[in-house]
Every structure is written in C-alpha cells, then in structure tokens.
C-alpha cells in the first residue's frame, strides 16, 4: 500500500550511522524508533541511544516489541556483520521491508536463510550500495545506449585510502596480536568500522559489495560463474594478526555457461592506506565493448579545494551532485509501491556474497573456483 510517509525502525546502529541517516534523508522516510536486543553489550546500547537522541525517537531494548508497537513499515539494519541477516530476517518475518548495511553476512548459509525469508514474506530488500553515484550512472547510461556495443570485459579498481591501525610489521614480537573487535569499536570515531563484529573480515568481504554491485549493474546482471583470486594481508598489522586480506585481486568469468555472451572482468580492491591517495581512494571503471571503450573515475564531478593549514584528513577533492542516499531510497520506495526489484536486492546480494566466498576459496587453493549460486 502506498503511503505518504514510511515509518522506519532502526534495528541496531552499532556501526557507523550512514545507512539510517541516508534513509532519513528522504522526505518520505521517518525514523520513529531505534531498537535492539537487550542482550547486546553496553557499547552497542550507547550507540543506539545516541542515534535515538539525535533523531529524538525512543530507544527500545526489545526488537519484537518495537516492531509490534510503533507501526513501522521499514527496518533499517546496521548491527555487527554477524547479526545482519538475523535482524533482517526477524524484520521480514514481521512484514517489514528491509534496508540493510553491507556486507550481506559473514556466512553464505545466513545469506541463504535471508533469501528464503525475504521471498517468503514477500517484502522488499535493499542492500546499501553506491550504484547511484553520478559517474556510475553515467557509465550505466553509456553502456545501455549501445555506444560501446556488447560488453567484452569490465574492470574495477576499488581502493580505499584509509588506514586500519598500525602498518604491517609494526607489532613487536612480545606484543599480543591486535584484537579485531577492539579495533573496530575504536574505529567508529572516524567511521571506518565497516568490518565491525566478532568475526574478522577482509576488505573483499567488507567492501566487495560495492564494486561487484557496479559490475552487476553495468553488465546488465551478468552472472559471475567462476573466479580466480589472490589475497594478501599487505598493509595493516590488524589484518595480518587476524588472517584477513586488505588487498585482493579477482579474475571474474561471467555468463560463460548461461548461453549469454561471455564477459571477462577483474577487480582490484584494497584498504591501501591514507598515504596512497589524496582523497577517499582511486576508484575507477574500465569497460571494453565490441565497438568502443569507456574509462570512468567514480569520484567525478568534484571540486578541488586547497588552503593553508588544511587538516590532513580533509578531502582535497570534494565530490559534487551526490544524491545517492535520496536516489537509493527513491528506488526502494518505488520497489515497494510498484513491485519492481530494488537496485541491489537480496538475490543480487547473495550472488555477490557467493562470488566473494569463491574468491576467498580460490586464493587458498591457487586455482579458479566456481561460484556457488542458488
């Protein structure tokens, strides 16, 4: 049923709050309650309370009660990664549409459970993504126009120039390994806690959704069937100590078995350190078609700003025309109201999670691995 305004419940905001804030940026979405399980630790309750205070809404330490008593239609899910699917499933079973932060989950079995629950409930699901950035939309439009002809290959560089604690090799032999969760909790201060949770996650698992969602959209939904990958804990001691990657390269084979035109691809992804780029990082798309090619810088349009005593952490190049939050929610509301799929729904999210899992398996075996699609 169409509504003027959709009432939204934020189910945990243990991580950075950009997803609930992005949802609230749409004039037809109103955050009315923040909720979480009472059993969560104090620091989670503290963060939940902070967001509730910011939006002047109640914080309820009982998810079922919040969903029952606040007349909500949308759940915004942003807890630690291992709880993503569980909270989303509970919301779907209560009949709510779901907007969820990435990654879909740290386990493929949880993704499968989510897909079943969403399909059974008949609700809409949106995996938060960056597909509606202006340059990515432009790339999509050029490809759809047919100017390049049928696609042959597509490549994405996705480097975040952020640090994740001290550099590799900096820990003395007598010191204990860095604890993943402790670091992620501390990283909340600057919003770089995307891997928040008890289970250590590599960059491929944390951020891989973004470039792989680009490739999915730009190829018109090509299916990744086989991957070959290399991963490394190359930059940060945190990743070394927790045996997860901060640099990965993936060869992607798409559509080879489906009867559609095969497309090759590659992904280079890494948390390459703050020193390695003046801004958020080098994020580029290279697209080759039968009749032409396209090279796109994801950050453009941007404005360059430099001045004396500029703080080191301030971006020199400021992105312009960023309507991503609004457009994502427009897409989500349209899906609710017309029955269309969301731009990255639970099936796409699951396919991406399976691609990542296959890539990690390939990096262990040193051979290409088939992607386990449902």
């Amino acid at each position: 049923m169409n509504r003027d305004v959709y009432r939204c419940a934020v189910l945990s905001v243990a991580k950075h709050a950009y997803v609930p804030r992005g949802v609230a940026a749409h004039p037809r979405c109103e955050l009315v309650v923040v909720a979480d399980d009472a059993s969560e630790p104090a620091w989670v309750h503290e963060r939940n309370q902070r967001l509730a205070d910011e939006f002047e809404v109640p914080y309820i330490r009982d998810v079922a009660r919040a969903l029952r008593e606040f007349d909500v239609q949308i759940a915004v899910v942003s807890p630690a990664a291992e709880r993503h699917c569980d909270l989303s499933i509970r919301a779907a079973q209560a009949g709510l549409h779901v907007v969820q932060d990435k990654p879909l989950s740290d386990r493929l079995s949880e993704c499968d459970r989510l897909v079943a629950a969403i399909d059974q409930a008949g609700v809409k699901f949106l995996m938060w993504n960056r597909n509606l950035l202006p340059a990515v939309c432009q790339a999509r439009d050029v490809i759809r126009s047919g100017a390049l002809g049928p696609l042959r290959a597509i490549h994405c560089d996705f480097y975040f120039s952020k640090d994740a604690g001290p550099p590799r090799g900096s820990r003395r032999a007598s010191d204990p390994p860095l604890d993943w969760l402790t670091h992620q909790i501390a990283a909340h201060a600057d919003g770089s806690d995307g891997g928040l949770g008890h289970t250590p996650l590599g960059e491929l698992q944390i951020e891989g959704i973004y470039p792989l969602a680009y490739l999915h959209m730009l190829t018109g939904g090509a299916k990744v069937e086989r991957v070959f990958a290399r991963t490394a804990s190359f930059f940060h001691q945190l990743n070394v100590d927790n045996h997860v990657d901060d640099l990965a390269t993936v060869t992607l084979e798409m559509n080879a078995d489906s009867g559609r035109r095969p497309i090759l691809g590659t992904l280079c992804i890494g948390r390459i350190g703050a020193a390695s780029h003046p801004d958020i990082g080098e994020i580029k798309l290279h697209v080759l078609g039968e009749n032409g090619a396209l090279v796109v810088c994801e950050s453009r349009p941007e404005v360059a700003v430099y001045y004396r005593q500029q703080p080191a952490a301030e971006f020199r190049h400021r992105r312009q025309a960023i309507d991503m939050d609004y457009l994502l929610m427009e897409n989500f509301l349209a899906a609710i109201e017309t029955g269309s799929p969301t731009i990255v729904d639970h099936h796409v999210g699951r396919a991406i999670a399976a691609t990542v899992e296959a890539a990690l398996a390939s990096s262990r075996t040193g051979q290409p691995v088939r992607v386990d699609h449902l």
């Binding site: 120039s161 930059f235 390695s276």
Partner: protein, 305 residues
Amino acid sequence: MIVRWALIAASDRCADWQRIAPRVGHAPLAITVERVADLAGHLDKCDAIVHDSGEPPTIAEWQQLLGYGKHCLIASPPPIAPTDLAQATEHFRERGLRLLCLGGARSLPSNRSVHDVVASGKLGIPGLVRTHRWLPACGGSLLQMLHADVDLACWIMGARPTTVFARGVPSSDRAATWDYLQLHLGFVGDAMAMLDVSRRLPNGDDYYSLSVIGSAGAAYADDHHNQQLLYTGGHPQALRTEQGDRQRLARLEHFLLTIANPTAYMADVLDGRRTLDVLAATSESLTIDRAVHLSREQDSVEVTR
C-alpha cells in the same frame, strides 16, 4: 666506444629517430633504410641496427636480421614462439652481440617515473601492478603484445611471478587468435599483478594506464589523467598530451649502454628469459584453463663483450 647505427624504419617513423640521433653521444646514425633487405649492401657502415617499422619483423626479415651479425634493437618481437626468441637471444650472446626487444613499456617516461619511485623505496614494498593496454585493430600476436607489460610488471616487482592465470576472448573470425587477453599474476611475498591487452578499440588513439600500489604509497600513470579537451561542437574530443621523444631516446640509450656494458646486457637477457617464461605459462594457462605455477628462480647466464 663509438657505435655506428643503422635505422630500419617506416618513412613516418624516420624523422622521429633522426631527430633524437644527435642527442646520443658517440653513436652516430650512419644510414637509414626503410626495409630490412635494403641494408644488405651497407653492412660495413654500421655496428648496430635499430628496427622500428611499426610492425614486428616478418619471419623472413627476422632471418635476415639475424644473418647481418650486428647488434639489434627491435621495437616489436617477431611472430615466433617464445622459445625461438630465447634461442635467437642465446645465439647473439654466444657471438658477443646484443639482441634487445624493447616493447617500449619500460622506456615510456611515465612508466620510468613509476619504476624509479618504486625502486627508491618510497612506496614501500610493491604489492600490486595494474596495467591496461587497449589498441585499435592491428595484426600480430596478442600474446606477444603482452610482452611489454609482463616485462614491465616483472621489472617493477623485481621478480618473476610464481602464479599465472590467463583468460581471453578469441577473435570472432579466427578462433585460434585472441582479440583480448587478461593476465593475473602472483609473486612471492603475496604481491600480484593484473594486466590486460585488447585490440578492439575503434580506429584512433590507444589507451594505456599503469598503477602500482605499494605498502607505503601508490603511483598512478594513466592516460585518463593526461587528456586535454578540444571543442569543435558536440561532446569535446580528448587529446592526449604525448610524452615526446623521451621514450625513443631512452630505448636507444639503453641499447647503446648494453653494447658497452656486458653486465647491463646480462640483466636484460635474464629479464628477457623471465618474460618469455611468463608468456609460455600464459599460453599454457589459456590452453589448460587453470592457473600455472612456476618455480621461483632461473639460471644465471654469462654474457661476453
């Protein structure tokens, strides 16, 4: 040591080489011809040959070049198997001659800048080399066209990869040849490289980019950054600002250096073998549809003056 060199170049390339010739001391350009066969009557006038006809030498031209008994710099490798090229290199070495096949990637000024900053240690340990080389439709072996970037990647990493995985798109008209290849390399110490080469661009300029991600920094050399805009109605055209004569000059200077310096040539021979090993593994990976794993190192080689 004075080295007189002969130039075999297509007419549209002669002027480029002739312009830089005076900038190389003790190496006068002695004679210029357009075809390999044209040099046959002038061999007494030169000690070395530079071949840059815009296309790789044919098999017949290649045989002729080998027969001249001069140091040779060829811009593009001939269409022969990597093992045959290795054999030819060995043949030259045994005779105290130099055979260099510089695809050009090393001598491109921007690539040299990237290499030099990596070598300085400022970027820390190199972790990832990424190149895209997209060309308009052209003949020759696409596998050979990977030569330049494989060489470049190994040069920057300072090592031969231990893992090679290749995928490609065959030509639509001839299934036995490739229009597009991508190469995924793994090195000891977790470093990696991603290279691709295409010959499917429409007629016009090519595109090239190189990026290196190191443990302490990164370098990006990308045609995308070096385009100027020309407005003549409709969407503007992007015009690349070229890197001038420096690439050709660097190529020639290095060739002359190896003639004077056996140690420098020995390094080139080893690097050449390394590249051919990787190309052979690439070919095998394409055939078996699996990753190929190489042993860690190669033999030493003796080079005579």
